[in-house]
Amino acid sequence: MANQDNGKGFLPIFLVMVIVTLAIAFSVAIWVPGEPTLKLRLAITYGLLILIFLFGFVILAAIASGKIDITELLEEETGGASTSRFQLLIFTFVIGLSFVLIVACNCKFPDVPTNVLALLGISASTYGVSKGIQAGAKNGSSDTKPSGTAINDGASTGLPGRTI
């Protein structure tokens, strides 16, 4: 229900974005001098550029204001932040930022070396395997533990320890 309400809230914004885009595209097509094909190309390019920017800006504004909730971005099912999600986020941002910097400097699509792909691959695989381990352990736990039955009666011996 809440999602439907959010969708309705975005509809007028979406319409405004389309109208602004069309207005800019028409302005470029009418006032920019040149060949008709060049004017058409410029109008479409400027229009798409503005539309993508407006879409991105609305999404960013929604994230910043909390309409798009990212509070559980790093959260595990059991609660608490996940290390594998955090490192995937860090590497994605680092590679993304590097990509933008390199494209801005060279003005062309850069060659992506295999070690960059390997870096992201290791990071994403860690996240995937981590999820698999978690799901497997939880399933194993629910399969082997009968409900309402005491598994270990030596509860008083449970002292805090370390994972590894």
Partner: protein
């Protein structure tokens, strides 16, 4: 056409920079909680749901290696923004080893629990 390129450049800077800025701002202000980042679940028969939460050395070393490598990579790109920096096999091995250690520790803790419980 030059204006178009400049406009596209600033559009990417605003959108990508804005996304990074918002996510990091939320991370630092607690909008995205980092509580329990270094804690891991351990199989614990004494716990009600079969698992308890403990501080994890595996997570700590994984996070340290990740932050070190990410910072190093970013500095390399800022130093020479013409191409992606080459990562040496040593660094890749260190990252892979760190992640493998983290996953092995997690698997051990989740499937086997504490060594003390196994030996009982």
């Amino acid at each position: 056409m030059r204006f178009l390129v400049t406009m596209a450049y600033w559009e990417v800077v605003v959108l990508v920079g804005g996304l990074f800025g918002i996510v990091f701002w939320k991370l630092f202000t607690g909008g995205i909680p980092l509580k329990g980042l270094l804690d891991g679940d351990v199989r614990d028969p004494n716990s009600a749901d079969g698992f308890s939460t403990q501080a994890s050395v595996g997570r700590t070393q994984s996070l340290t290696v990740t932050l070190f490598l990410a910072l190093w990579y970013l500095l390399q790109v800022i130093h020479n923004p013409r191409e992606f920096p080459r990562l040496s096999d040593t660094l890749m091995g260190a990252l892979a080893g760190s992640q493998a250690l983290y996953l092995a520790g997690k698997a051990g803790a989740m499937f086997l629990g504490r060594l003390r419980n196994l030996l009982k």
